[in-house]
Structure formats: C-alpha cells, structure tokens
Symmetry: C2
Subunit: 620 residues, 2 copies
C-alpha cells in the first residue's frame, strides 16, 4: 500500500501500518534533529492514524476551507507525530520532515506554531489546547453554524491543569457535541508516573461529572479507537472524551513504558526503526470537508459612537461599554467575552444589544482568553475582559496567544488604587507591565470618555494583542467628540515655549497632572502636560521633543513602579537620544482600603505629589 484514499476501505491492518509509519517518522525526525519528544509521539500514533485515515475531514490544500475540521495538538511536544501525520497526508515532504525539524528558520518547530498553515494556535504550554478548542467548537456551533468537528489531542499529565477543567465545564454545559478530546494516557509524565497512572476510570469519572460523554479504550486497538471516534461523531448534546490507555514509546523495547525517556531521541534510532518494521511511505488522502460557507459579517459602519459633553464626569469603563456596543453594530464579526463581571466592566451593555455575540465565560479567566483565541481562529474579532487585576490569571494564555499571533482585544477595568475601598486584591497594579512585555502587544489607557470611545473600535483594526485599561470612577470629559486619538500618539494638553518641566500621565493620572500644572502655574512654574494614552507603542517623537524643550520629566502612574508608564517613556530614549532628568511617581506600597482620593494621595500620585516632584526637579 502506497496511497490510500478515503474512498478506499482501509483495513485495520492498513491503519496499524500507518500508525507504525508515524512512529518511525517521529523517531527519525527527532534523531535527525538531535532533540524532541518521540516517545510522547509513539504513544498517540495509533490514535492519530485512525483519526487521519477514517475520521478527520480536512483539505490540506485549502487550510482556510470553512468546513475543515480543526485538529489541535494540546500536547504540543508530540510535534514529531503531528509532522509525521502531515507527511502521511502529503502536506509536507519527508525531506522537509527529516532535514528541517527543529532547525533554524524551519516552520517545523519544536512545538507547533501557526507558521504552518494547518496549525490553528501555538501549543507547548500544556493545558491550553482544550480551552482554545472549546472556543473553536463554540464558534462552529453557536456563531457560524458550520459542520466541522474540533479534535484536541491531550496528554494525561496536562489534566492536572485547572484550565483543562475550566474547558470541560464550559464545553459540557454548552453541550458542544462537535468537540472531541482524545486523551493519550501513557501513564508517564516528564518526571515520572502521573498522578493517576493507567486508572482510566479516574479520568472518566471526573470528566463525566462535567457533563461529557466518556469512552475509555485501549489506544492501541485500532478497532476500539475507530469505534470511539465514530461514537464521538454521532453523540448528540455532549462533547466526547476518548480516554485511551497507551504506552509511551510504544513499539520500541528500549523506551517503551520506561521512565527517563521523555523529551529525547530514542537511544538507537536505526534499531528502533527496524523494530518498528522499517521505513514506510504510505500516503493517505484525508477525507474532504463538506461544502460550507463562513458567515458573511455585515454591520452598519455608519453607526455613531457615543459622544460625551466636555466637563461631564463619566467613567471610562462606561464609555467603553457604550462604544463596544456600537463597535458591535458597525462590525458583526465582533464577539464579546465576559468573566462574569460584565456589570462592572460594562461589557454587559453589549450583551443587551447583541446577545447572540456575547459569551459568558464565568469566573474562569484562562478559559475566557482561551475561548477568545478560539473564536478568533474562526475569523471572529474577540473582545475579552474582566477586572484588569484578574487578567493576570490568564497571563500564560496571553503569552501563548502572542506566540500564535492571535488578533485579540483585551479589556481590563478597575485599574489601580483609584478604585478606592475594595482594596489591593481588586486593584490592577501590575497589568501594564504584563501587557507591555507580550510580544507585539498594544497598550491603551484612556483618560476620558470621548477618547475611550475612539479607541475601542480602533482596537479591532490592530494586529496582535491590544489591551485597553479602564478606570472605575468617573473622570471629567476633557476632549471634544471630534478629536482623533491614533494608536501610537499622545496629546500635549499644556505647553508653551518656555516650559520647565513635563508632567506625563495616562488615565486617571492625567487629571492629577493637569491639576498639578495649574498649581505650578500659580507659582510661576511652567509645566508641559502629556496624556500618554498609547502606552505601547509610545509616541517617542513627542516625548523627545519635550525632553529637549524641558529637560525634566515627572511621570505619574496608577501602577507599581516597574514595567509601567515610566519605563514606557524611557524606551523613547535609547540609541543615542539623551535622557531627561526623571522623577517617577508610582504606587510603591501595598494599598489598603480608602476613598479614591485618599488612595491617590496615600500612594503619592495625586496633584500635590506631582507638583512637589516638579518643584524639586526645577530647584524650587
């Protein structure tokens, strides 16, 4: 057998042969690379062989086909198996597999990334494939009504991750019967035996309790695997978990079911290939997807953003909610995801207008971002958010989303000490540092309602992860509704030819800086004031100009001193640009409870503190 098509009836023996080929190719790829995870590939080879030969529907020549199934290797370290499967499917050549895997410049990386057109998302941080798969399945079932299935291959070790149980919960209660997780229970983690070993029922009991259909099987019994996948495809009303007992390193005695064989080539690859029956060149024609069309996303681009009157006091979170709703009217590809705090973030306003595009993820921030990434894979434009402080819960998901080059809009409310009485657990004081350090991210922090309204739709036009930080309390409207706020820009709110010092804030501290400038003016000190609403990318030209003109900066931020606004400002002064004298005001302590004004004062980021810092800088 050299080529088999989905038309051909493949015998169990044919499929077993394909499984052996996947093992052989995984062994060869890792051996050629000198590193990799062949044993974790070998345990799942029969599972993938059956999937590929009999159940997956995927046009490798049309990776954008909306009817394509989705295959997510949550156990991304089994990349040799994935790439061996691509080889068997004719998507890549054996030569590419054997000469480029894990090499500089290769698209066949140690863990899969979307550099490959058939890979939806980067994996390798365990426990993320299923949460994202839930998003993909949800998009298919609830948003797009498309006939594809989502298949997620998980390891057993990663079931220790809480994020996986957030996913089981969401998929179970949403009844995602278009989702199948295949769990490769090979008993051995990286360091040694897993918690539950081969106790399939330990997994089945837990997963069943979350509303899933569970099918425990011998993962090396082709017929049993086939039956389980058929059951998964035909079960209605619940997602299916195939819980497969397998042997790590299956088929090669030197490594099979042995500890200490994780994450390295097999000791004698030639002998291993012989033991596995030698090299094969089977090519499978994977089943074609059904005809399908992705939803056309219309919308009314003329829908007007909310406008706010100068001098009114409006919370930026309120303006965010209203602008988000209009953005959803303008663009029908916008989906909003909430962590059960939509009444606080004001995402709830969107829910009332566009309930069909609002996904409640409850208090499960990893799943919140996972679902967002998943619907993004399917061409939707996700806005996902919660209290900014609790976005830290999803840091690793955001990190991986950056590696996946996901286009993701994230909002976080209740930033900083200015929230007041609720205390430090609810205050985001590290979020700007977290968000800035993500590759390719954008960080926005508006100070008034009209500015917020302009930035919200702009987020969707921005590639990568775009973060908007909002404030709980009301702040005065200082900009007219027709002003423009390009990402990467800033606003100079006060300036004159003989400014002595520049005060730089964003969000709530802009208003404190303005008040400080007023006080300083009364004392004859001329202060420039910059609203740095685009924290990343930062408006280097304006900052450099201010440094040249005034030589002295006071930065003021409702954030811990590290990684926030001040650091963003200083990024403009590398590579030969002389730096200004700088005083950085930030939250240096752990706050307690107090009113918003008391908090700003206690943290030393209010107008009085800014004025004092400016005086000291100019020698007064």
């Amino acid at each position: 057998m050299n080529t088999a098509t989905s038309e051909t009836v493949l015998t169990d023996g044919d499929v077993a042969e394909l499984g052996q080929q996947l093992r052989v190719d995984a062994v060869r790829a890792a051996a050629a690379a000198g590193s990799g995870h062949p044993t974790s590939s070998m345990s799942a080879a029969d599972l993938v062989a059956v999937l590929l030969a009999r159940h997956l529907r995927y046009a490798f020549d049309q990776p954008e086909h909306p009817g394509n199934d989705h295959l997510i290797f949550s156990k991304g370290h089994a990349s040799p198996l994935l790439y061996a499967a691509y080889t068997a499917a004719g998507a890549i050549t054996e030569e590419e597999l054997l000469t480029t895997y894990r090499k500089l410049g290769s698209r066949l990386e140690g863990h899969p990334t979307p550099k490959l057109p058939w890979v939806d998302v980067a994996t390798g941080s365990l426990g993320q494939g299923l949460p994202i798969g839930v998003g993909v399945a949800l998009a298919g079932k609830r948003l797009d009504h498309l006939p594809y299935r989502t298949w997620v291959l998980c390891g057993d070790s990663e079931l220790a991750e809480g994020s996986v149980w957030e996913a089981f919960e969401q998929a179970g209660t949403e009844g995602l019967d278009n989702l199948t997780v295949i769990i490769d229970v090979n008993r051995l983690g990286q360091r040694g035996p897993t918690r539950h070993g081969w106790d399939l029922d330990a997994y089945a009991r837990r997963i069943r309790a979350f509303g899933w259909h569970t099918v425990p099987i011998d993962g090396h019994d082709i017929d049993a695997v086939d039956e389980a996948m058929t059951a998964a495809r035909t079960t209605r009303g619940a997602p299916t978990a195939i819980i497969a007992r397998t042997r790590k390193g299956k088929g090669v005695a030197a490594v099979e079911d042995r500890e200490g064989m994780h994450g390295k080539p097999v000791p004698d690859p030639d002998e291993a290939v012989r033991e596995l029956g030698g090299v094969r060149h089977i090519r499978i024609e994977v089943g074609r997807p059904p005809a399908a069309e992705r939803s056309a996303h219309g919308g009314d681009p003329t829908a007007a953003l909310p406008v706010y009157d100068l001098g009114d006091k409006v919370a930026t979170r309120a303006a965010f909610g209203e602008a988000l709703t209009v953005t959803g009217t303008r663009r029908e590809d916008v989906v909003v995801l909430d962590g059960e705090v939509g009444d606080s973030t004001k995402a709830e306003v969107f829910a009332k207008e566009h309930p069909e595009r609002y996904i409640e993820c409850y208090i499960a921030e990893q799943q919140l971002i996972g679902t967002a990434v998943g619907v993004g894979v399917c061409g939707w434009q996700p806005y996902a958010g919660t209290f900014a402080a609790f976005l830290t819960r999803a840091h690793d998901f955001l990190r991986m989303a950056a590696i996946s080059r996901s286009d993701l809009n994230v909002f976080g409310s209740h930033a900083g000490v200015s929230i007041g009485e609720d205390g430090p657990s609810q205050m985001a004081l590290e979020d700007i540092a977290m968000m800035r350090a993500l590759h390719g991210s954008t960080v926005l922090y508006p100070c008034d309602a009209n500015q917020t309204a302009k930035l919200v739709p702009a987020m969707a036009d921005r590639a990568g992860i775009t973060y908007l930080r909002t404030t709980r309390g009301d702040t005065p409207v200082i900009y007219g509704p027709d002003e423009k706020f390009p990402i990467g820009g800033s606003r100079v709110l006060r300036s004159g030819p003989d400014d002595q010092v520049t005060l730089i804030g964003a969000g709530v501290t802009v208003h404190q800086a303005l008040a400080a400038a007023d006080r300083l003016a009364e004392e004859g000190i001329r202060a420039r004031v910059i609203d740095l609403y685009s924290v990343k990318p930062v408006d280097a030209a304006t900052l450099r100009q201010a440094a040249e003109a005034t030589g002295r900066f006071v930065t003021v931020e409702d954030h811990h001193p590290e990684g926030g606004l001040a650091d963003a400002v200083l990024e403009s002064f590398g590579n030969g640009h002389p730096m200004p004298l700088l005083t950085r005001l930030a939250v240096h302590s752990v706050p307690g409870s107090a009113t918003p004004d008391e908090q700003l004062h206690a943290a030393g980021i209010d107008a009085a503190a800014i004025a004092a810092a400016a005086r000291a800088l100019v020698g007064r």
Copy 2:
C-alpha cells in the same frame, strides 16, 4: 443570652440568633462604610455561626498557637461576615467594626488581609483560598503532624476557576481529611445567576469524582449544618465538601435572592436590621485549640555548598539543584515544591536527599504556588518552581502572595531564547517583567554555578517573594567558590580608569558581554562589564558610577525589551541622577527553533551584537 462558651450547650435557636447577629452586623458595617458585600455575607451567616459556636477551635488571643484551626474566607468579599464573626468572638470590638471598616488606615479592609492577626492570607481574587487551604492542611498532616483543621469558605461562582479544581485534585489524592470546604451556594454571582444555580448535585458529582466526601445540605438549617461539620471532622481518608444551598441576602426581603444586589449596602439598613430582629450583642467563646507544638526545625548549618572549578561549564540550574539540597540540609524548614519538571529544574536533586520535604504538585502551577503559600503560613520556608515561562500561569497567585506579604522563594528554569530548539512556548521572555512588578519582590539571575550556589540559601533569609532565574545550558564558571554575592549587589568584571562604554548583562548574557569586551579591547575600545545578578533590588551606586565614568550603556538581556534588565538599570537614574546614553539589546521577535548560539545571534543579544552596539555608541 449575652455570652455563650463552648462549655455551654448552645441550642439550635441560640446559634440561629448568632446567625442573625452576623447578618445584622454585616448590614450595619457595610452601611456605615457606604460599600461592601452584605448580601454575600448574609447567605453564609448560618454556616459561619455554626462553625464559630460549635466546631472551630481557635485561640483569638494566641493567633500563633500551633493547634489553632485555620479559617480561610476564599470568598473574601464576604469580609463583613468575617469581621462580624471576629466581633462575636470578642477579637474586635463592635466599635472597630462599625467605625473603621473600609476606611483609610483600617485593618478591616474591603477584602481580608493578614494585617489582621487571624487572617492567614489575603483573599479577594476568587479561587485562591482553597488552593492555599490545601497547602495549610498538607503542612498539618504531612509536615507538622498537628491536630488543627483547615476550614475554607468558598462561594459558588468561584468554582468556575480551574485553580479550585487543581486544589480538589491535590487534596483528594493526598487524602487531606483535615480539610473542609464549605461552599455557599447562593445561586447568584456578581452579574447574575451562576452556571449551576441551586443544583447542589452538579457540584457534588464533580467534587466527589475528585475523591472528596460531599455533604449537600440546606445552609440555613442549623441542625443540618452542624451534622455536616461533625461529619467533616470525623471523616477519615478524604477531605469533605459541605455544599450548602443558601439564599443571598437571606433574611431581608428587599435583597433576598434578588439579582443586582451584589456588592453594595442594602437599600434601607435600618429596616433590614429591624427585619432581622434588631441588634444583638452575643459574644461566643470559641473552642480552644488542643495543646500542640510546632516542629522544631533543626539542620546542619555547617553543610557545605557545592563548589565548582573555574573554567568548568555547568548549568546554573544544576548548581541550583545542588545548592538547594544543601540549603535543605542546613535548614530543616525548607520545603521544595515541583510542577512535575523537577528533572529539568533540578529540584529533583533535593527530592532524593529530603523526600519528606518534597511536594510534587504535578502540572498545576497555580496550585504549586498556592501550596507553597499555604505551607509558608505554617512557618515552613517554601521553594517552588517550574520552567520560568510557566510561572506566568501563577501570576495572580504571586500577586496575591505579595499582598499577603508571603515569604516565598520561587525558581524558574529554562529562561530565554538560550534554551534553543524547543521554541518560544518553553522560553521565559516575560518573567522578569512579571516578577519585578510584584510588590516587595527580589529578582536574581545568576550567570555561573558558584554565584548560583551562594544565592540559593540567601533567598530564604529574604522577606517577600524572591525569584531566581536559571539557565538551561552550561555556562563557564567565572567566579571562585569563596566570592560573595550580596542581594542588591553587582559585579564589575572588567573596568579601567578610561572606560568608554559599560556593557551590562545578567545570566547568560554576562558571558556574551565578556566576549564582546574582549573583541572591543582588540579594537582599542575599553568596555566596562557589569554582571547585574541582582536585578531587583538593583545596585544603583555601581550603575551610577559607571554612568559617570563612561556615559554610555549597552544593556543586554535574554528577555523581551519591556520590564526587564534595561528597565531595572534605568530605575537607578530617577530623581536627579543624569541618565547615560543607552542602547538596549533584548529579544524583539518571537523566536523559532534553533541551537542556543543561533538563537542568541538571531535575537541580537550575542557578543557580536553587543560589540556592534558599543562601537556605535562610542562613534566607531
């Protein structure tokens, strides 16, 4: 009844009265503060009344008593209930409750923190109390063999958090029968109904599947609550979950079981108090703890740290594992916690020598940090770690640990692009930004084995969160074994009176900086080289001296450009200290797979890139 003691037999009616008092006091406290969560307190009032009157054993006058039970309010927003309970127990006065709650400077914060001597850890980020409670219970059962019980009060909404399921898993498989979770199923989250409403069995099925004993009850039936708590205390071999059906706002018609009443005072507090039967002044004498003694932690302080020979090549992670083991010999209070990667981080070396103080948390990083915080509460000195990249998974736990002022040692291996072929999912490129922004944290990043060995025991003497970043690959030993590396210091590795530029690295980039300095020297350019192994706190004096002497800095870090080494360096130049010209070299792209050397080169952080940056800065 004004005072009841544990000797007194309290009737169910007495306890019900106490429950009403807790409600009344919660209502009054929130009304006086003008904010807070009375309705979330009222649902759990009977649960807490029974616990306080009949089951808790706690000497409020001796919060350090090793026999004291631990009571963790995971639903920290129910702080009015907790403080009302303290009032009933005589630990605080009614006056303090009614005049200071949520006010500036008060220890009665919006969410509980250890400013109160009876509070183990700060809560308010949901889903953290149970994971930490697991650590506390584990310490009692496995490390200290103390007779206390750990009681955790959870809300129903927070069961959506995956971290809670990591905790159920660890507690269930460890058989922590000294742990009880009381789940206040009041059906209403912040935004609206929870996923499972009053379906107690939905919770019971799931929790039972994780190996727990479950007791569903009516949470307002004093007798049923009492029986459930008795069952929890007497069940052997498994932890108990009391799943209590309750009504949010119970007892006040205007708010009882109504949506939109979360997180605000009741509309008419006086009427509510009347409806609840008026103000009471019941004082309970809570049961005393049994006599108990905490383990004395000995150790051999003379145990010698490992030493490495100059010029040998040793991975800092290897030196870390060996030094950690000796630290555990020196100090028997050291406990090591692993995220199932101890063979990679080398924490496993400790496991071989001190298995009784090694806790395997499997791939569940939130629980890893939660357990560490919990054993820390009990006086142990935790070292917890995994791949540095995966610590982002526990960001919110670290954030809350900082608010709790936990003394926590964290290690992260496989930092940066220098890991090589495994690719970006395994590379920590954001960890320094994350760790620096935590309040009161320390960030260490050693470059050689002897330096690492010295820093590992020093971590335990440091307050707050102390983070050590290690490197996967071997690096040359450049320091002798007798050199000292104080936290907050740095090492000037090359310097002369007429240095033209300063090269600053840490960890793997120190070696690149040294190589660059050699090349530059051949070209007649004199470069100072600083090893900034203490990234936070940073050695401002040495950096300022170098800035004065050379005026030009090249910083080089195996990390994204934001929030890392360069930003740490620039912190030394606030408040009037003139800044040097700076070129920052960092990882600006998403890396792929490649060898470590290729990675350093591709990212532009190798010796060649450093030398080129230095040349440009000095105008050559």
